[in-house]
Amino acid sequence: MIKLSDKTIAAIEENATRYPDRNSVLMFGLWKAQEELGHLSPEAIEAVAEAVRVPRAKAQGVATYHSLYWKKPVGENVIMLCTNVACTLMGAETILEHIENRLGIKEGHTTPDGKFTLQEVECIGSCGYGPAMVINETFYFDLTINKIDDILAKL
């Protein structure tokens, strides 16, 4: 059984007062737990459910619904590359292939050193600046192969 840190619990409690229904703080709680623990293991979900006081099945339902909650351990940097229509038209597929070759992993996997996880995602709302991607919480757009190399080298 994982115990959430006091800080996370305090944050959940503080945010809970913002909603008319305490259940609403569940997503925030999951997010905080993911920040703290890296990913949401079943034990972590259970701990969040207990803190938010919702049934644990419901918490798992919410966690598995949203793709940005990591249910499996991820690397230090999570590369989320959009491969929807607009980005693909602008060459997202080549970029994906490039990243795969550069990191030596397939989409959905993590490098053996635990530094990168590569993930295809649905539209991230920048069809005008495609191809686009998000690494951790930083947004990158108008990607080219050179740009990718720069970005990955810096990380």
Binding site: P42, I45, E46, P55, R56, A57, K58, Q60, G61, T64, Y65
Partner: protein
Amino acid sequence: MKTINVVINGIPVQLERPMNIVEAAKRVGIHVPHFCYHKELTIYAGCRICMVEVKGKPRPVAGCSTIMSDGMEVFTESEKVIAARKGVLELQLLHHPLDCPVCDKGGECALQDYAFKYGAAQTRFIENKRLIPVNYNNPLLERNMERCVSCKRCVRICAEIQGDWVLSDMNRGSRVTMESFCGDESECVHCGHCLSNCPVGAIQSRLYKHVGRPWYVDTEAETICPYCADGCTMTLQTREDKVLRVVSDETYSKGANRGSLCVRGRFGYDFPNSNERLTTPLVKKDGYFVESNWDEAVAHVAKRLSEIKSAAGPDAIGAVIGGRNTNEEAYLLQKFMRTAVGTNNIDNMARMGHINALNALEAAFGVAGSTNQIKDIAQAKAVLLIGNDAATENPITGLAIKKAVLKGGAKLIVADAGRNMMTKHSSQRLTYRAGSEGELVMGLINAVFATNMHDADLEAKNTSVFDKVRAKAGKYTPAYVSEKTGIPAEDIKRAATVFANAKPATIVFGKGITATADGFGKSLALADLAFITGNVGKPGGGINPMASKAGEQGACDVGALPDRLPGYRKVSSAEDRKRLGGLWKSELPENPGMTVGEMVEAAGAGKLQAMYVVGANLAYELPDTKNTVEYLKKLKFLVVHDIFMSETAQLADVVFPAATFAEKSGTFTNSERRVQRIAPAMKLQGGARPDGEIIAAVSAKMGRPMDWEPAVVMEKISVSTPIYAGITYDTLAGGGVQWPYYEEMKSGTAVLHAEGVTGRADNTDAGVGEGAALAGKVFPFVADITVSLYHSGTTTRRTRGPNMVVGKALAGMNPSDASGLGIADGDTVVVRSSTGELRLPASIDKAVPSGVVHIPAHFADVCAGTITGLVLDPAGKTPVARYWPVAVTKA
């Protein structure tokens, strides 16, 4: 309120309140297809098949989430609508495995029906079917998520009606599955709500799997569940005289249970099919049972009883009727004993506790029955649940309490000495020391008076009663009660405040009160608490005692009691004896007879020479098994009716094979006074006969012929039993009635004393006794002997379903107690008391309070009676055996 005029498919409809299109269409017999919508659940509007066209709206709208407004014109089968539905079905069928021929839902599946009606046979999509392995995590249910239409009705019913929230929708899109947390089904109570509510074949019963198809059903009988006293309406389906399955009302509106069932009712149905059933009358010769025939066995019984009667007098014969016999059978047995034998030695198994509650309510308000009805509890604003685990002992009452909490926002106060599964819904949990129930109740009364929260208007009218209660509760100050019960004084005050300030507030109590010492006085104190807070006679208020078996309330009502005639008329009243004697053409005995416990003791002392036991397993159900068996062996003659070779039947001289509830007619009266009919769903199995027929045959041989056909008996009951006046099988048609029945209104009485109560009916002065601590130095633990959700005794031992979930007895222990004794989960422990010992595996359960060992009361190999002694409470003569001091050691 203004009526709403709408037009549905050209038919004008008047609605007296706003409602959605699906419900409005139902009014005029139009079915709007739907998967996710259910009247009793919140609206989800996710399946999109209930699309209807509304005049003036550009697009079809969802029928379930659109509330009708005045002047609305709706078309449910227009071209546009049909096209929309076809589209939805095409998408639904995209991932459906189309395995209807082997799906057990085939023939009663909503998806099948709609696809047949609207379905596009050709799909325009080229996509692989999803492959999701069938989920067998649950011992009683299988979940085949390939067939799921993602309506989430299972998730919602589990959360909203059952209140457990075991299931949730995991993942999304086409990968969505309805699952428990990580596949852990430990929270599931196997009520089967999800099963009954699944519109397709995604959730299936593993007991019914591949066994039947809807068109195999030969007989379908609406009947009453024989297990607990909630009296649930259910439908038995049989094929070739075997129970195929139990189905419940899918609209969740019928009966006292409103369609809900628990695991015992829904999955504990196959004992009538058991091959262990008795098939012929057995007569013991030289210590061995010999198969006999009916005429011989009946003649033998009549002869032996007559011999004993003439040799030792009628009072040397006693009779007991079990908790699962119908009212008619209880009536026949008491009539047989009072006329053919001529003694009042007749008792029923409500003596194990419930009788104390009935006596107390009669003493308090003049009527020996629950003041309200089960579904009323849902209207309460506060519920005091004391000495009863409604979630396991009376699961349907538990659902009403959960509804009050989940839908009505009621405050639930759970007071119990042991484990109580309702705790997770409670706003306050009071864990008292076993034996100090009375002090707690008195403490609550004291706290109510101390802060003047009692009903002042009522006090003005009933000054003397209030003064008496006030005086009695005087010494139970919070400090004193806290010392006795181990509950902090603050908590007692808080509970009293919550209970007294909520209007209406109700009390639900059970064997944790009634089967303890001074159960009568404690029940009376609870009645006083309900009275002084002004809750009696109000819907959602009142006081609800919970009987533990289906027939207990009814057996008491029709006079299977040693001191009461039918309708609770006193045996000592010459007038009532004369009236009944006139009806039965007999002189009735005037001395009150013996209770069950007294009969067994008298058998041991040699005063009682013969016993006639119908459907009661005395050698198992009574405390102090060892001595009970010894005493029963001393009887010169013991007759037992049973469906199985029970522990008591093994001691008998003659055993008659009895019919189960699935094979006979009759009525049960549930804890809310509702008299309901059971109907036979199959032919008598083997050579079994209904108990009533056997009693009548013996009676006829002893010179007193009786009619035994249940409908005729009920007519006689309605004449001889004042509280059942006017109740016949005709008036019971359509859901039963709660006695007393009023001919002029054609209805029973849902809430007693609605016109107001005037003081105590009886001037009894019973106190709650001294709650001496049970646990001591030698026996530091208290055994809490109670039923588990999955079992209830001899019958459930022969059912497949409940045994698949819980197959053996486990001693529930608090983790701190267990670690103190070095006991780990699954270790065998020895539970020892002054009378005997039990060896059983421990189960570490943090719901069990410290100092308590939870012992189930219904497994053949682990008989809880071994560790208890036969102590009769002086007031009600009930065996005091709910809590017993024990010592626990690791084996």
